[in-house]
Amino acid sequence: MAKTGQRPLSPHLSIWRWGPHMLVSILHRVTGDGMAIFGGLGLVWWLCAIASGPAGYANFRYYAWEAAAGDTWGLIVNILCRIVMIGLTWAFFEHLFSGLRHFVLDIGAGYELNVNRRWSVVIVVASIVATAALWAWLLFGKGL
């Protein structure tokens, strides 16, 4: 990077005043790259487990959701998997809503300060509400 060594650097995260638009932009990248790794691996783990037959799938379910009561290690993995699953659900809603915002910005709309701020707040709140509603229904409505 010798050529670019002397170029002035843009101020970064530490210097800007935080606002909802900045938060939603950072969350878009964080949730996207998080899902790229954990969501991608989780999806393929699930599909490979199903394809490997009943024993493989039972093993997946055991570690992902329903380890035996006395199996401490299995229960720790269960808790971690639940945190990841709830996290991925939130990441999906956040990234989806924020992605829809990007489509609007791509056509050149929504750059007015108040509009931009309002929709950024809506996205952050809506993704949390959607995640809470889905898991509340799964755990208490459906009785997972």
């Binding site: 991608g40 691996l41 393929v44 599909l47 490979c48 199903i50 394809a51 009943p54 379910r61 989806l96």
Partner: protein, 129 residues
């Protein structure tokens, strides 16, 4: 936009040495993901149970297996492009950047291949139970 020259603006080439192809691909796959992942989420949470016969019986149907394969293509292409931008923004050493780009390409393509093969196996061998 190149060096800010007229021809640079016309070519639309920035620091990534590429044009709008990457950007457009990210949008095309984003639309695909919005539809397909929403479909997957709704389908999975509304499954009556998660035991082996139910899940394989569901996944073996053409109306499920085909969208699932399309989802894997769209999602992992989007993942490949997204991780690439992440690396281009934060990995500044040219050698490490090149190695990282190889790694994420291997990851995205291998994961998609594993997923597609798994769906195909479940669909073609049927719900064995």
């Amino acid at each position: 936009m190149g060096n800010g020259t007229k021809v640079g603006q016309v070519r639309g080439l920035g620091s990534a040495h590429g044009g709008t192809h990457h950007w457009m691909q990210q949008r095309f796959t984003a639309v695909g993901n919005a539809l397909l992942v929403t479909w997957l989420l709704i389908s999975v949470v509304t499954l009556p149970s998660y035991d082996y016969p139910t899940v394989t019986g569901w996944l073996a149907q053409p109306i499920v297996a085909v969208p699932m394969i399309l989802l894997l293509v769209s999602v992992f292409q989007h993942i490949r492009l997204g991780l690439q931008v992440f690396i281009e923004d934060y990995v500044h050493d040219e050698g490490l950047k090149f190695a990282s780009l190889i790694l994420i390409n291997f990851y995205a393509i291998a994961a998609a291949a594993f997923g597609i093969f798994s769906v195909a196996k479940i669909a073609f061998t049927g719900s064995v139970l």
